[in-house]
């Protein structure tokens, strides 16, 4: 087994989940200029709902096809997360639309803490094991081992990202979203119901987050009420790395961050002579965040479009 190839593969798997979550951050930022720090918790809620549905189905219909099971669990998680995001925007952020920027930001952190604690009350403090409903098979690819779960993660993420890009760039809804993100005032003059577009944006981001939650829980086989926190921060880092507000940037940033983390964790032990182990994996995301913010705050693909007068 080629270790480097294996780290690249693991990085891509992790990175595609980061990318899904980063898209939610970047879409909301693009349209409202708001960093929705509660987004990571939406990922966690998605994982928890799906887990609850799968557990219930397993106990009632143990013979059910795993694909049907995951489809039902996924649908439930997506619907719950979309409604959750709708109400978060409607009740917490919309009243603060014209408030100083710090107010919605602090509110977002508040919602994040609130959701974590609600999840803790409902699902408890213990790590929950995700049942293996798929038979895990391992294949070899370019000298690396890839499991069926990893193939599933990459495929689902790629399809969703492609779907989102198609919606944003080639549909009427997508045009309205892009117009709203440029100027809410002018978008309104086009007859766009700006509040509706903002709600839809939150809900699309939450749908992606729900799927990301399921994928990440499937990847690590555990779920926990605090799992969204670190994941959210990393996805935010990915969005900043790619250029916040830029969809392509979020995908690129997510994949890059996954690779950096995975390769970094794979070699940090050798590089520091065993002083730092692979559990320092989380350090990389934040080193990246600091470096980007210092040297290129607009990220890789983020640039100001000059509008000539």
């Amino acid at each position: 087994m080629d270790i480097f190839a294996q780290q690249v593969l693991n990085g891509l798997v992790l990175g595609s989940v980061y990318a899904l979550v980063a898209l939610g951050y970047t879409m909301v930022y693009g349209i409202l200029g708001l960093i929705n720090f509660a987004h990571g918790e939406v990922v966690m809620i998605g994982a928890m709902i799906a887990l609850a549905v799968v557990s219930a189905l397993l106990s009632v219909f143990p013979e059910m096809s795993p694909f049907l099971m995951i489809a039902l669990a996924g649908t439930a998680a997506i619907l719950v997360c979309m409604s959750l995001a709708f109400f978060i925007e409607r009740l917490a952020y919309r009243p603060l639309r014209n408030a100083p920027r710090l107010a919605p930001l602090i509110t977002a952190i508040g919602i994040s803490i609130l959701l974590q604690n609600i999840a803790m009350i409902i699902w408890g403090r213990k790590y929950k094991t995700v049942p293996q409903i798929f038979p895990t098979e391992t294949f070899e690819l370019f000298g690396a081992n890839i499991t069926s779960v990893q193939i599933f993660i990459i495929t689902v993420s790629a399809l969703l990202m492609a779907g989102l890009l198609v919606i944003v760039h080639f549909t009427k809804l997508g045009r309205a979203m892009r117009a709203t993100s440029e100027s809410q005032r002018v978008a309104g003059l086009m007859g766009i119901n700006v509040n509706k577009i903002i709600s839809v944006t939150f809900m699309i981001g939450a749908g992606l987050a729900a799927v990301a939650g399921i994928l990440i829980a499937g990847n690590y086989s555990v779920a926990h009420y605090s799992m969204g926190f670190m994941l959210g921060l990393k996805a935010f880092t990915a969005a900043v790395l790619g250029g916040i507000g830029n969809l392509g940037g979020a995908v690129l940033g997510g994949l890059l961050l996954g690779l950096i983390e995975s390769i970094g964790a794979g070699y940090i032990g050798d590089l520091t002579g065993g002083f730092l182990g692979s559990h320092y994996q989380d350090v990389f995301a934040f080193v990246v965040l600091i470096v980007v913010l210092v040297f290129r705050p607009t990220g890789i693909m983020g640039e100001r479009v000059s509008e000539r007068a």
């Binding site: 009427k172 045009r175 309205a176 892009r178 117009a179 440029e182 100027s183 005032r185 002018v186 978008a187 309104g188 003059l189 086009m190 007859g191 766009i192 119901n193 700006v194 479009v305 000059s306 509008e307 000539r308 007068a309």
Partner: protein, 237 residues
């Protein structure tokens, strides 16, 4: 009731009353100019009618009370505004900008026909249909903004300072377009600092001063009124 009517229309910015209880009337098919000095409240007035600014008083349009209607509902009723500074979507292509204008639009066929008509009207936009709006010159952006507003097939077109920031030759062209639009039967309410141009392109005019109406009348008469000539057309007695 007139086609467009405001009653005691007022706009406030904090403690400042930008528009003070103004009544204006615009009949169907008319082109009416709203002129006055910088800060007289002309743009506020237009923004209130479009629904972008909160206001007091009443606005009636085509027998409907607009007072509490959000901006997108007013677009639905047939009001379209070309905002000050043009408001072109810089990251959308020219064609996407035009399609935004038809957001509430009719059928696909109507939309295609309108698009074709706009490209005939503004060949320059056709040449640049794939370019992003931000790469256009000021005059091209103004044409795009007007064409985009027309894509919604408005009954009332609100134009906010269409000459602003444009080279004189471009200004001529834009006003030619505006007069052309007026000939197609669209009612126009025009806010313009260039008073001569505004009076030459309209049938009636209201003159605003510090949030209030000072003079109203036929544009052709106002063009020759001594007071207008000295205050707004830069001509001494």
């Amino acid at each position: 009731m007139s086609f467009l009517e405001t009653r005691l229309l007022g706009v406030r910015y904090g403690g400042i009353r930008a528009v003070r209880d103004i009544d204006i009337k615009v009949e169907e098919g008319e082109t009416v100019a709203l002129i006055g000095a910088n800060g007289a409240g002309k743009s506020s007035m237009l923004n209130a009618i479009a629904g972008v600014l909160p206001h007091t008083g009443k606005i009636y349009f085509n027998n409907a009370d607009l007072t509490n209607k959000p901006v997108f509902d007013r677009v639905k009723l047939g009001i379209s505004m070309v905002p000050e500074g043009r408001g072109v979507f810089g990251r959308l292509t020219v064609e996407e900008n035009l399609l935004m204008g038809a957001y509430l639009g009719n059928s696909q066929q109507d939309q295609d026909a309108d698009l074709k008509q706009m490209y005939e009207f503004f060949p320059r936009l056709k040449e640049r249909r794939g370019q992003t709006g931000g790469t256009l010159s000021g005059g091209e952006q103004q044409m795009l903004a007007i064409a985009r507003a027309l894509m919604s097939r408005p009954k009332l077109l609100l134009l906010d300072e269409p000459s602003m920031g444009l080279a004189p030759i471009m200004v001529e062209k834009i006003f030619e377009v505006i007069r052309g639009v007026s000939k197609t039967g669209v009612t126009i309410l025009l806010v313009e600092q260039n008073a001569r141009l505004a009076l030459e392109s309209s049938e009636r005019a209201y003159v605003m001063e510090s949030g209030e109406l000072s003079i109203t009348g036929e544009s052709s008469e106002l063009l020759h009124s001594p007071k207008i000539r000295s205050s707004y057309l830069g001509e001494g007695d």
